[in-house]
Subunit: 468 residues, 2 copies
Amino acid sequence: MQTDRRSPDDVLTRLSESLPGRVDTAAEVLTAARTDRSGHRSGADPLAVVHAQSVEDVQAVCRIADETRTPLVVRAAGTGLAGGAVAGAGELVLDLTGMDRILEVSPADRLAVVEPGILNGDLNRALAEHGLWWAPDPASKDISTVGGNIAMNAGGLLCAKYGVTREAVLGLKVVLADGSLIEMGHRSVKGVTGYDLTALMIGSEGTLGVIVEATLALRPAVPGEVVTLGAFFPDVVAGAATAAAITTAGLVPAIMELADEATLAAIKDYAGPDGADLPEEGAFLLIQADGPGAAAEGTRMLELVVANGGTGRIAETPEEAERLVALRRSAFPALERLGTPLVEDVAVPRTKMVEMFAQIREIEARTGVRIPTAAHAGDGNLHPILVFGEADGVGGSGEIPQHVWDAAGEVFRAALDLGGTLTGEHGVGLLKRDFLAAELGEVQDELQRRIKAVFDPHGIMNPGKVFV
Amino acid sequence: MQTDRRSPDDVLTRLSESLPGRVDTAAEVLTAARTDRSGHRSGADPLAVVHAQSVEDVQAVCRIADETRTPLVVRAAGTGLAGGAVAGAGELVLDLTGMDRILEVSPADRLAVVEPGILNGDLNRALAEHGLWWAPDPASKDISTVGGNIAMNAGGLLCAKYGVTREAVLGLKVVLADGSLIEMGHRSVKGVTGYDLTALMIGSEGTLGVIVEATLALRPAVPGEVVTLGAFFPDVVAGAATAAAITTAGLVPAIMELADEATLAAIKDYAGPDGADLPEEGAFLLIQADGPGAAAEGTRMLELVVANGGTGRIAETPEEAERLVALRRSAFPALERLGTPLVEDVAVPRTKMVEMFAQIREIEARTGVRIPTAAHAGDGNLHPILVFGEADGVGGSGEIPQHVWDAAGEVFRAALDLGGTLTGEHGVGLLKRDFLAAELGEVQDELQRRIKAVFDPHGIMNPGKVFV
C-alpha cells in the first residue's frame, strides 16, 4: 500500500482544490470544534472544518484524509457528552450539519430515509404530520442530530418500552475511510443476509465510517391519552424499589424517571416560589403510561407507589402533567447552578438500582464530591452528576480536577461490579476510554480493535476515541 | 503461528483423550448430521459428532479444531432451512443439545439466562409460569433451540409488532475459534460500551464463534384477550393490499399471515370435509390483534378487509379462533403433499408485496415450477415454496433439480430488484451463498469476509456457509 503522508498545508491545499468553498479555517469555527457538551476541550485547534453537502463531498474528504493519514473527526451538532466529536491538533473535522434533508417518508412502509445532519426534533415534527414518529428520544432531541443519535446508539426516556436507537434503524449508507460507499441493512422489516453491519455501525462513535444516509423504522403515533403520575418518597431507595416493583408487576411505563434527594432539592430551589408545594426532602418519581391500557396501568402504578411508602397523584389536566414533566426536565439546569457538572451515565440491571444509589452515596462520603443522581428507572440507567468548582460554574475552563475523575472512576467500578456498564447511552468517547478494557476484558478489547482495523486500516477515523 | 495439521485419526484421538465419552462416531449419528430441514444433504459423513455438556467442552473442541485446522459445524436441533448446520467430509460437528439448562429467570430484571440447546418452546413454557415470554416466534419454536434462533436471527409470525431475535437478546457468552471465552453485551437494558458484538453474533450462522450462553430480554405477558380475524379475498393481490392498508392506517397486528390462491387451495384439500366451508378459490388472510386495544383494532381491521373487497369474520369463540390459526399452520404440510418443497424466504418492503406476488406468478409461468406462497404480511416476508417432484415426495433424495434452482434464483433477483433481501429469517447457509454478493455488493462482501477472519483467522468455523 502506497502511503502519502503530507504536511498539513498540503492536506489543506488538496481539500480546497477538491472541495472549493467547503473548507473552513475561521478561528471561531476551529475553536468550536474543540469541545462538545461534555465540557471537555482539546488542547489545540484542528486543521480545518469541511462542511459537506453531499455523499460525494464525504467521499472526497475521506479519500484525502486516508491517503494523507490525517485523523478525521465526524461531527454535526456537537451535543455529545463523552467527547466523541472533540477535535484537536492535526485533525480534520467533517461537518455534516449541511446534510439535513428528509429524503423520503413512507407511511405504508413505515420508514423514513434521511441525511445524518437533521435534528431529531425536526424529523419528529415532520413525521407527526403523517401520524408517525421515530422512537429514539434522548433529552437532547431538539439539538442533536439523527446521525449523532445513531453514531452513539442514543437512548433517552422511552427505551424500556420503545427501545434504543439500534431498534429504530433498518439500514445505513456508510462511507468507509477509503472513500468507498456501502449500503447496509434493508428497507424490509426483516433481513438476515450476512452479518448485521448496521447494528455494528450503531454506537460506533465515528470510528468505523461516516453515516451519510439512514433508513429509519418508524412507529405509528400511540393512540389514546398519556397518563402522567408524579410521586414523592422519603428517600431514593423507596423510589427505586417502587420502580422495581412496577417492572416486576409486568407493567411497562413509557417513562419512569427517578430523581434522588439532592436532585429534588436542587429542582425545588431552582423552581423558587413555583416549587413551594414540593417536599423539603425526599425523592421524586415521574411516570407516564401510554396506549390503550394507560388509564388502568396508571391506577396500578399509583397503588404500587402507595404500597412502597410514597405519595402520588395522577395529573388531572394537561397543565398539571406538563408541570410534572417540566420538574424532571429542570433537573440538569438546576444542578448546573451548583457548580460545574460532569454527567456520568452508568447502567445496571434494574434490580441493582437500589444498590447503585447506595454505592454512589458511599463514594460521595468517601471522596467529598457531590454526586446528585437522576435515573431512567425503567431501564436502570443512572446519571450520576459529579458537581465541582464554584456555584454557577458553567462555562469554566473545561478541565476536570483529578479528584473528580477519581470519584467518577469509583462510580464506573461500582457499576461494573454490579453487572452493569460504563455507559448506558452517552458513549465512551474520550472520557471513558481508559475504562473500556475493564468492561470488555482483554480478549474482546483486542477483537474490537481488530474490527476497527478492518474498516479503517490506517486508523484515521476518530483516533483516540473509544480505544486508548 | 505454529500450525498443527493432523490426520483425521489424530484429530479423533485428541478429541477422545480430551473429551472422554463425548465423541460419537455412530453411523446413524454422523448421517443425521449431513442434513437439516432444508432437505439439503452433504456428500459424505462428517468425522465425528461431539456432544458438549459444558463451556469447557466447547472450548476444548474449538482448541483442537483450530490447532488441527479441522472445520467445525455447530449444531443442535438441526431445524435450519438453509443448510447452515449441514456437515460433510472432514468436518467435525459440535452438538449443543446437551447444554439446555435455564440458568436464571429474573422477573425483576425481566431477563433469563440460558444455555443454547434449550428449545424455544420449552423455555417459553417455563417463562409462562412467571408471567413472562421470550418474543422470537419462529414456526419451528417447538423443535428449534434458542441458540439456533440466535445464530439465525430467527423471525416468525410476531415480528412486525414484537421484533426479531436481535431485539430480544441482551448479551452472549461466546467461545471463539481459538477456545477463548468472551462475554458480550449486558444484563442492563441499555449499554453502549464499544461495538455491539452481540448484534454481530446474532444471525452469524455459526461462522464467528460458538454461543454457549445467552442473556435474553423478556416481555411481560400481554394482557387481555387476543382477537382473531379470518378473511378471504378473490385473489392474493386484494389480500396483500388489505395488509398494506392495515399498516398504513397505523394499526399493528400481532400476526398478519397471507396465503395465496395455490396455498389456500392446498389447505382446503388437506382439510378434507373439515374445509367444506372454505372458498373454492381466492386468498386467505389471518390476523390477530392483542393487548388492551385489541377489540377496537380488530373492528377497524375488519372494516379495512371489507373496504378492500374481502369477506371476514372475527372469531367469537376460542375454538373458532384456533381453527383459523390451524388452517394457516396446515399450509406447509398441505403443500408438502404436492411434491418436494424448496422453501424460500425473501423479504421486501411492505409496499412491494403486491408486486412480489405478481413477479412470482410470472416466474411460475415462465419456468413451469409451481410456487405457492405464504407471507408474513405484516413485515413483507414471503415464503415462496417451490414444489417439484412427485406428489407426496417428502423424504426424497434431497437433490434439488437445476430448473428449480434456476426458478429460485429468479425469485431472489426479483426480491433484490424490489429493494428486498434474499432471506428474511432463514439465513444464507449453503443454499443462498451464491447470491450473497449480489445483495451486499463487492465492497461489503469483502468487508464481511475480513470480519470473519478477525474472529476466526484459520477459517474453521462453519466454512463454506454464508460465504462461498
